[in-house]
């Protein structure tokens, strides 16, 4: 067990994938000499050479489109999109090519691409540097979408994503890049929990809190605070946003009867909507109250000085917990 930041765990995962499989390539803007703006690819070009770790021209559609061609040639490209907000120029290649080629060709052409996206807000960044585009990818059949929330998962899930024969959107919460944790570096990925499984990061009995990415930390903080008031929250880290591990989730909801979903992305058409619709379908008769969403507002990501009012924090989660428990809350008057 080594103590690593999530950033270093990701670097270790990439290094391991490059070492294990000649067909793995890493490509993106500034990932070579600079090691990426977040230093996730630090040292990898020096170690594996510019044929395997390549700086690309500044064009995201070009990066993903050429990665598709490399996959045609048998490679397993790992693409770095510099920031979440810069994935949109590649949207056509992702939605119309990466996601559809295996289906289009009846399985003849595989697309084992991993698209890494430094993701979401909370770091006081400029516009376009704090986006949470996961719902777009979750709605796109043919893609798998995962988000890590701690160094061990970052390391293991990245290796699993690269080893997966399907395209994987790999979301890396920026605000956790410096968070530290123990990482078992020697494990075999075949022995780890499969990529699609959720993780009960804190068991509890009163309310099920569903979340992913950096919000897992916020939800755990909320669980601690709730404990002081005698409320027990079960916090589930989804890890995989598509497909979702409804086995784990439904079992929890059947026990608690109450659900709060929290994510940074805006609410309308967000991942929380899907989770609530599915949970309601699967657990309707177990629900004691309407599931509650605690999300970013339906606004473009605001300027840095306002992001604290956009991102769902501990207090907003607790307010939602009060709501599902029928305790006094900010909407008590509205719902009364």
């Amino acid at each position: 067990m080594t103590q690593l930041t999530m950033g270093k765990a990701l670097t270790a995962g990439l290094r391991r994938a490059l070492a294990d499989d000649d067909k793995v390539l890493i490509m993106g803007e500034d990932i070579g000499a600079l090691g990426g703006v977040f230093r996730i690819t630090d040292g990898l070009q020096a170690e594996f050479g510019p044929r395997r770790v390549l700086d690309t021209p500044l064009a995201e559609s070009g990066i993903v489109g050429t990665a598709v061609g490399l996959a045609f040639r048998g490679f397993r490209p790992v693409v770095e999109i510099q920031f979440d907000g810069f994935v949109y120029p590649a949207f056509d290649q992702i939605v119309s090519q990466v996601a559809k080629l295996h289906y289009r060709t009846q399985g003849q052409v595989r697309m084992p691409l991993t698209i890494r996206i430094p993701w979401a807000g909370g770091v006081g960044a400029a516009e376009h540097h704090s986006e949470s585009p996961e719902a777009y990818f979750v709605h796109t059949a043919g893609l798998r979408v995962v988000a890590c929330s701690n160094p061990q998962d970052a390391y293991t899930m990245l290796r699993q994503a690269i080893a997966c024969d399907d395209p994987v959107i790999f979301l890396e919460p920026k605000r956790l890049y410096h968070a530290k944790g123990g990482v078992e570096l020697d494990g075999d990925i075949a022995d780890a929990a499969p990529l699609g499984l959720a993780n009960i990061v804190r068991p509890g009995s009163d309310v099920t809190v569903l979340t992913y990415g950096a919000q897992v930390t916020t939800a755990l903080d909320a669980a601690l605070a709730a404990e002081d008031e005698g409320i027990s929250l079960e916090v589930i880290d989804l890890r995989s946003l598509s497909p979702v591990d409804y086995g784990t989730i439904a079992a929890s909801v059947r026990r608690t009867g109450r659900v709060v979903v929290t994510h940074e992305a805006s609410r309308e058409g967000g991942v929380a909507a899907e989770l609530i619709a599915s949970v309601t379908e699967k657990c309707f008769h177990f629900l004691e109250a309407a599931p509650v969403r605690v999300t970013g507002h339906d606004v473009p990501y605001p300027p840095a000085k306002l992001e604290q009012y956009h991102l769902p924090d501990l207090d907003r989660i607790l307010d939602a917990v009060d709501r599902v428990l029928g305790r006094p809350n900010s909407m008590s008057e509205v719902s009364a």
Binding site: G62, G65, G69, T105
Partner: protein, 374 residues
């Protein structure tokens, strides 16, 4: 470079400002740069090229007929563009990987794609048919220009494998406006990748004349990216072979990408749904009919005594067999089993798809419908 860089006076619409080897009467004309590349092309080879073009034309006509008769949902006619398709494909090595758009049936024919595989997609039975790795041709692309990046990526892969193949990106004049095609040139030039860009400038992108995409000739765009290019008569199969050999040789020998603009003409509608009378004069058709890619080869072969009835009959017989096979593949074909909707969304097991497939199978069961589960 310190000069004001003023584009030369050339115009995208000047279809005579091209390099060629066979003029429209079938006369062999000299071209200093192209001639060396076809020194070995003898009459036998030219007959082979003629045959493949003639088959392409018949294949195409059969596609239109099958559509008219209701067996296909749509067809995108290639008539008039046989020379660039057949000639460029013919000039490649078998393991060079070609990335075509929806209209490049001639290259698929050269590569041995089976008759049935030309109709399955337009019939609506599948999004693609043949195995791309068997024929080294990607499945035809519908998103305009997207495949150009795939070709460059494939070529980047060749560089990493140390292979001696090239990749070829085929696209139209309309596609030249897409960001992807320009990004493809950027990547190819930066990495010096072994890829050839073939722009079949057939003068039209549905109803839009080439002048809306480019005022200056499209071939003139590549040098600005550091890519050498050639503008050729795309209705002259010899020029197409020669230019492709030049370009492929350039790419294969490690000198990086090359670009060909093949000036040709779409004789038919954009697709069988299109009505070109709304946007173009029939005069244009007459002009181009006189510049037909097959007619000039036939004239040349006749002039050297290499085109007789026996040859013609053999070609017709081949075409009859081919088109009959196309037809029988699609006429009376059984509809696909309902549960095929769920096949191949993912390469690895996926809980979401598994659940939906099972639910839908149960639903179909209720009607007594067999979903056709594998």
């Amino acid at each position: 470079m310190t000069d004001t860089l003023t584009p030369a006076a050339a115009r995208s619409t000047d279809t005579e400002d091209v390099a060629r080897l066979l003029d429209h009467t079938g006369a062999r004309v000299a071209d200093e740069r192209l001639d060396p590349w076809i020194a070995d092309v003898d009459t036998a080879m030219l007959r082979q090229l003629y045959r493949d073009m003639a088959l392409t034309r018949r294949l195409d006509a059969e596609g239109v007929a099958l559509q008219r008769q209701g067996h296909l949902g749509l067809w995108a006619p290639a008539q008039g563009q046989e020379a660039v398709q057949v000639g460029t494909a013919w000039a490649c090595h078998d393991d060079d990987f070609l990335f075509p758009s929806y209209r490049e049936i001639g290259i698929e024919l050269v590569r041995g794609v089976a008759p049935a595989d030309f109709v399955m997609v337009w019939h609506g039975a599948a999004h693609s048919s043949y195995d791309p790795f068997a024929v080294h041709v990607a499945n035809p692309q519908i998103i305009i220009g997207a495949q150009s990046l795939h070709a460059v990526g494939y070529a980047m892969g060749i560089q990493r494998d140390g292979g001696d193949q090239i990749a070829v990106a085929y696209f139209g004049d309309g596609a030249s406006s897409q960001g992807d095609v320009n990004e493809a040139m950027v990547f190819a030039a930066s990495y010096g990748s072994p890829v050839v860009f073939v722009c079949s400038n057939n003068q039209w992108a549905i109803s839009e004349p080439v002048a809306l995409q480019a005022q200056y000739p499209i071939a003139g765009r590549a040098p600005g990216f550091g890519i050498p290019s050639m503008r050729i008569d795309g209705n002259d199969v010899l020029a197409c072979v020669a230019a492709m050999r030049w370009a492929a040789d350039h790419a294969r020998s490690g000198e990086g990408p090359a670009f060909i603009e093949a000036v040709t003409y779409r004789m038919g509608p954009h697709t069988t749904s299109d009505d070109p009378t709304r946007y173009r004069d029939t005069d244009e058709l007459d002009h181009w009919r006189a510049r037909d890619p097959l007619g000039r080869v036939e004239a040349y072969l006749r002039s050297v005594g290499a085109f007789d009835d026996a040859f013609q009959q053999a070609v017709t017989a081949d075409a009859d067999r081919f088109t009959a096979a196309m037809r029988s593949a699609v006429v009376g074909i059984a509809p696909p089993a309902p549960l095929r909707v769920f096949d191949h969304v993912y390469a690895e097991p996926h809980s979401g798809i598994d659940e939906q497939r099972a639910q839908f199978a149960a639903y179909l069961d209720g009607f007594g419908t067999d979903g056709g589960v594998a």
